[in-house]
Amino acid sequence: MSGKPRLAVFKFASCDGCQLSLLDAEDELLAIAGAVEIAYFLEASSRVLPGPYDVTLVEGSITTPHDAERIQEVRRQSKFLMTIGACATSGGIQALRNWASSEEYLRAVYARPEYIRTLSTSTAIADHVKVDFELRGCPINHHQLVEVLSSLIAGRTPRTPNHSVCLDCKRRGTVCVTVAQGIPCIGPVTHAGCGALCPHFDRGCYGCYGPAAQANPSSLNDWWMQHGHAPQQLVPLMRNFNGYAPSFRSESERLERMAATSHSSDQVGGNDK
């Protein structure tokens, strides 16, 4: 990248929290503003410059036909396209609609559903266009964002570790909440990035950063089922902000199948009595 890179930030279906993480980077914000030309960032400025852009950050998932077209144009205008956050990277919490009827949701939520044009699914940006880098998190960690932007400006490869949350718990001396307290925690299969925030406050990990590299959620859930948790109770742990990420998705669907099987065998057992 020569000269000052031009930065753009685009929003799709999302809560704006990840963009706010950039504005939250108070200590570094002036340095960022000095190091790049902010060409398009409606959350921060009404000044809008046309593309092309050197670095484009994309927040949010694709949930409407209009956005499915708009992301193609964003991609055409972007040299380096990076998704920020769980929505853009895996479809977000709104991907829960993928297991439900969006028609029913529309009728329940909107007074005049006929004005709403929406897709029946919420999907990740990478399902629609080529993505050069994915920054995980719900929301993203602004230290990681600054690290990635610094790397891009300096021309080095961004480094965001893909190990489990457990490693960060251990580095900070946090005692495992699952082993010591029996709290279900999906940290062992969740991508690092938050610095192991929740276990530090005696809570299980919710999986805000999505699946860790080569995650093995089936083994973790099998363990909990052996220790008294019903499969149906475990489905919501997998279906959170990153429920539609492939490994969490296939695992929650496996758990649902197991719940259905155990439910029907319960009924058979009941009939026998």
């Binding site: 570094e28 570790p161 251990k170 580095r171 699952t178 082993v179 010591a180 995650a215 093995n216």
Partner: protein, 382 residues
């Protein structure tokens, strides 16, 4: 100052334990030892006997640890918890150097390396063995690690003999315990009335001379021996170490590796709690302007995909190869590298595995079908 001969056994009345802590603190030591925190007995700074886990114990099993109340008020009536002394000797994160861009080019400095003088209170036999293993790694090889050395050289070690065992303990199989025999300055055995004190070094002798010790009565010695035997008797877990190096290295294609890979989360917990695992990674961090940079060393693990990333891809690209790497290093190739086993039998990896994987079971499974799947042995395999 009384001149105490080495190896003499002394007795410290229970009410005088605080004198030990006070004396060390007065000498400028930061005393670290067991304390109750986050539902477990962890290692942290100890300012007085009030910080010790008086009256607490724990139960442990694969993937499970529970803090429990004792029926007495013993100070050291438990075994080992999630922390080990490596967090002090080999800290999880250190800045090894810093760099600043100046008009005359880069100015590079070493990271700060002036740790406190630690006194470790309550080091168990398996942990003394673990420190000796890490000494080989960090001090006795061709490269001496200055971060480890600065901490280790100054450390004062007060061992405590175990008088009970957890279900996960197997130090007797590894020949590391439960009796503390070397590697300490002082060693204590807790009795209801006080502590039997053994002196293990000139520094220990000098400190002992300043404590209100009395000569141990024969009753004390006998009772201490009975309590230590209780720990031995409670140890149920075993690992057959006969020919273990060859057993593992000759079974690199054993189907058990695929079996354990189905269960293993590759989450790194076993390596993090292991008191001998020393893997780390070094990364450079710069600010946005690129004018300030620092080089950080942090705990890393062979279970991480990126840990074996070389020239375009990870070498160990599945859980099977990563678990195999860990276990064969710990129990087999560690002998080639350091002339000692990497496992001291503390059982932490069993307790703190979120899905309760037990290395003693994995080894037993391989041993029970040894030879069934043996590939031709090539020297390159090791």
């Amino acid at each position: 100052m009384t001149n105490l001969p080495l190896q003499t056994t002394w007795f410290l009345p229970r009410g005088e334990l605080s004198r030990l802590i006070e004396t060390l603190r007065a000498d400028g030591y930061e005393v670290v030892g067991p304390t109750v925190d986050q539902g477990a007995i962890v290692y942290s700074e100890i300012r007085s006997t009030d910080d010790l886990p008086k009256g607490w114990t724990e139960t442990q099993g694969p993937g499970q640890y529970r803090l429990e109340r004792r029926t007495d008020d013993a100070y050291f009536g438990f075994t080992v918890g999630p922390h080990s002394w490596k967090k002090y000797l080999f800290p999880p994160l250190v800045t090894v150097s810093t760099a600043e861009r100046t008009p005359d080019g880069w100015s590079i400095s070493d990271g700060k390396n002036d740790p406190p003088k630690y006194a470790f209170l309550g080091v168990r036999a398996c942990e003394l063995a673990a420190i000796a293993v890490q000494d080989r790694t960090f001090l006795h090889g061709p490269y001496v690690d200055p971060v480890y050395k600065a901490r280790r050289d100054q450390a004062f070690i007060i061992a405590v003999n175990c008088t009970q065992a957890a279900s996960t303990c197997f130090c007797t199989s590894m020949g590391t315990g439960p009796r503390c025999t070397r590697g300490f300055d002082l060693a204590l055995t807790e009795l209801p009335a006080g502590f039997l004190v053994e002196v293990g070094s000139p520094a220990g002798e000098a400190l002992a001379a300043r404590l209100p010790l009395v000569e141990a009565a024969e009753d004390h010695t006998r009772e201490a021996e009975a309590r230590r035997q209780n720990a031995v008797d409670q140890i149920q877990r075993r690992m057959d170490t006969t020919g273990i190096r060859d057993l593992l290295l000759q079974n690199l294609e054993h189907p058990r590796w695929s079996d354990v890979a189905q269960r293993c989360l590759s989450c790194t917990n076993c390596t993090m709690v292991c008191p001998t695992c020393f893997c780390h990674s070094v990364r450079d961090v710069s600010d946005l302007t690129g004018d300030q940079a620092r080089r950080e060393r942090q705990w890393d693990s062979c279970f991480n995909l990126d840990f074996s990333y070389m020239n375009g891809g990870p070498v160990r690209n599945d859980v099977r190869s990563r678990y195999r790497q860990w276990l064969t290093h710990k129990l087999a190739s560690w002998f080639d590298q350091f002339d000692v086993s990497g496992c001291v039998g503390c059982g932490r990896c069993i307790t703190w595995c979120p899905v309760g994987i037990d290395l003693t079971e994995e080894v037993a499974a391989i041993r029970s079908s040894d030879g069934l799947q043996r590939p031709p042995v090539s020297p390159a395999a090791t």
